[in-house]
Symmetry: C2
Subunit: 106 residues, 2 copies
């Protein structure tokens, strides 16, 4: 069951969990309180997030604190990187081509 970061963030509940624990570690019980579904369902989501290393565990007695692994989030950003020039229209592909043609003429 190989997990993928992109597959992990596909689910809206999991994205909400990520946002929830981003700035403060939380236990499964505390997280589950923010959602309508059962604690076990949230636990399943946490398992998936853990498997792809988006989230890490920190045991404290019988409680487990879940924290976001920001480094892993960077992976998504890295994939997006190749397209960033496209939506920053200042350097759109067309502009680039035109720029190249212009500078070659000189």
């Amino acid at each position: 069951m190989r997990r993928d970061v992109f597959q992990a963030i596909a689910d809206p509940t999991r994205r909400a969990i990520i946002a929830l624990i981003a700035f403060q570690a939380m236990t499964p019980n505390a997280i589950a309180e923010h959602f309508d579904s059962s604690r076990q369902a949230v636990s399943k989501h946490l398992r998936i997030l853990t498997e792809c290393q988006l989230v890490e565990q920190e045991q404290s007695g019988r409680e487990i604190y879940y924290t976001l692994n920001a480094k892993k989030m960077k992976e998504i950003d890295k994939w997006l990187e190749q397209f960033r020039l496209l939506w920053e229209n200042r350097f759109s592909q067309l502009d680039k081509v035109l720029h190249t043609l212009k500078t070659q003429k000189k």
Copy 2:
């Protein structure tokens, strides 16, 4: 069947399609040549990408050219924005807190 950008990029084939047409519009047939699965399977992926507006169609006779809608890609980037400070360790949450404490002391 409401489609979501995050769900759309969850599939590796769809991510490959996005990368493929990012800098050059392509027809379904041309796209399908790059994959092992059937043309119809690719067509299904294109449908999903179109439904969430990640991709746009441009008819030319009986051919349809698919282009990436870079603006929509920005949506993913926008969601990522809230976490960017976390992985740019120069401004990690901890650093921010320490900085605040430090400046308050002065």
